[in-house]
Amino acid sequence: MGKWRAWKYCAVILGVMMIFAFGCAKKQAVKSTDTAATESAPSSVSAVEKAPEGVVSETLKPEASAAETMSSRPAGTQMASAAEAAAGVSATEEKSSLFQDIHFDFDKSLIRDDAKPILASVSDYLKKNQGVKLLVEGHCDERGTSEYNMALGDRRAESARKYLVSLGVPAAVLSTVSFGEEKPLDPGHNEEAWAKNRRAHFVAK
């Protein structure tokens, strides 16, 4: 086959294809208006006349009411047990503690010197009162981003936990949780409040 013949051949096919494509397009457009017009008249909506040319119909699907409630949940939702749900609410509340909080510098998780006597007293208590388990909560101030602060709070709790282990507290009695910046002790928005909120808090279980 010569080069010219090949090109002519291609041009003819391209032409045919374009006619075909336009033909299809026209047919589809008309079809979508028509079907849509009939679809748009659900039995609940009466007296909807046929959509005029150029007006396309669309039916919106209702969305399930997505919110859970405490009492009733949508079918299929994994129910938290009553005890779990209560634990979830309880997580937002400030727990009383036998110990003072220890505090941290901004964006830091190092144990400061002023925290060491407090950690020593926590360690002494746990050694004397075997069977007591301790939850170490890590907290941050409101500055910075909440995801980063969640991880930073975890580091603070972990620093305190490791320090207690280094003082001889059995690792098995200690657990940690971070609340990031979600649970400020002081609701203020100044350095005094922030300093109080950058803390590890100890809750006996």
Partner: protein, 435 residues
């Protein structure tokens, strides 16, 4: 040989065809600051039902089109012609009357509400040509009337720019509903009206992230007392726990096809980024380091990931090529604490927050760290940016001494608006994919 050509040409025909029907472009969406198209939005006609809808839907359209900075809505006092039911039954509008008041486009609408069902017909005319540019008739539950307005706003934008709108998308966020400390997840439309609760368990519900199909939200909840990442299907309300291992966990983003969730999880005090398969919870490590690694955001092609690490001593934004075994590039150079990257769904821009002179401001930067620009700042903290699915807007949280609101700004920083300000500590906004 012949068969091969036929296949190639057929493919070409299919690819070329969509362009064949494209309209004249009236507005170049990429030249903001240009002339705004004057548009008239007369009150809709009520055929049956509550007339409030007939006034409310044009307001939704006005707010949407106003957000683009491409349209100017002509005040209704100027309108000369009263829209009649007959205009929906063949009677043409008096286009010279609309031209006279400067309206180059007119939207008319009729509302028919029966019970809790509503049918809304809207038509967009070019008043210079007297031509119907778009016509739609929507049927559905009356409570979705705003969605109907948003959908037609998309049609108006498309008719004049050739670009699909995002007005029917939504923003998920977390906020404190009352005076207590609990945080719940909400979803709100772009008009900021009536956020609907997704959670209501009075615990901490944080970091909502959309699946690519927009049907599922991943989020962290303390509802059982410890943090777990759940997947909530917004269509049927079904939910399941996906990530239970480790301590702290924050979902960052889904993979392109929604098969996996990138999530930061801390194990023994070290937070790294993991890829968790949605189908069975299988876990792979995606980014690790000795420091805190959080806040993953995937590139549009799924090949790179932006994240935050404090490996340099303070939090900074890095980009990593997921296929390469090494090579992480720091891209934040704003100075201090930099965090929460959001990769634009189109192109190679990354938005993030950075602290300078006390407050947090938003910046955008190329994925290679070049061309960093200020996007938003104020007398408070601008954090947690999230790009719209068309990459043209960014939603973010603004907080100042306990006051909080969600704001939207155009990606070029030229125009912005308040989205919502009803709750305290509103944060972690996430823009849904296209509907």
């Amino acid at each position: 040989m012949r068969r091969l050509w036929f296949v190639i040409l057929f493919a070409a025909g299919v690819v070329l065809f969509p362009a064949a029907g494209s309209a004249i472009l009236y507005i170049d969406i990429n030249s903001p600051g240009g002339r705004r198209m004057p548009i008239a939005l007369p009150s809709f006609i009520t055929v049956a039902g509550d007339p409030a809808l007939a006034a409310d839907i044009p307001k939704v359209l006005a707010a949407d089109l106003g957000m683009t900075a491409l349209f100017e809505v002509i005040p209704s006092e100027a309108y000369l012609e009263k829209v009649l039911p007959a205009h929906f039954a063949g009677k043409p509008l008096s286009f010279p009357d609309w031209k006279l008041i400067g309206a180059e486009a007119v939207v008319i609408g009729r509302v028919e509400a029966r019970g809790d069902q509503v049918t809304v017909e809207m038509r967009l005319y070019d008043s210079t040509l007297g031509k119907l540019m778009a016509g739609r008739r929507y049927s559905g539950p009356a409570r979705h009337y705003r969605l109907i307005g948003h959908k037609f706003a998309n049609e108006v934008l498309y008719a004049f720019t050739g670009v699909r709108g995002i007005f029917d998308t939504e923003i998920a966020f977390s906020a404190r509903p009352g005076k207590g400390r609990s945080k719940e997840v909400y979803v709100v439309g772009l008009d900021g009206q009536d956020p609907r609760p997704v959670t209501n368990n009075r615990s901490f519900n944080l970091f909502p992230r959309w699946s690519p199909d927009g049907n599922t939200l991943a989020y962290t909840s303390f509802r059982t007392g410890v943090p777990v990442v759940y997947l909530r299907n917004l269509r049927d309300g079904k939910e399941r726990a996906l990530v239970k291992f480790g301590n702290t966990k924050s979902p960052g983003c889904f993979s392109q096809g929604g098969e996996s969730l990138y999530v930061s999880v801390s194990v023994n005090g070290n937070s790294d980024i993991y890829r968790v398969r949605v189908s069975d919870g299988a876990v792979e490590k995606a980014v690790e380091g000795w420091g805190i690694e959080v806040s993953p955001s995937l590139s549009p092609d799924g090949k790179k990931i932006a994240f935050v690490s404090n490996r340099s001593g303070s939090p900074q934004v890095y980009v990593r090529d997921l296929a390469a075994s090494s090579g992480e590039r720091r891209i934040s150079h704003a100075g201090g604490y930099s965090s929460s990257p959001s990769w634009s769904p189109v192109g190679d821009r990354i938005a993030f927050t950075s602290q300078s002179a006390g407050n947090f401001s938003l910046y955008t930067v190329n994925a290679d760290g070049s061309d960093q620009r200020l996007l938003a700042s104020g007398d408070g903290d601008c954090t947690d940016p999230s790009y719209s699915p068309d990459g043209r807007y960014v939603v973010y949280s603004f907080q100042k001494k306990g006051y909080s609101e969600l704001r939207i700004i155009s990606a070029d920083g030229r125009s912005g608006k308040r989205l919502y300000s009803g709750f305290s500590d509103a944060g972690s906004p996430a823009w849904s994919p296209r509907r």
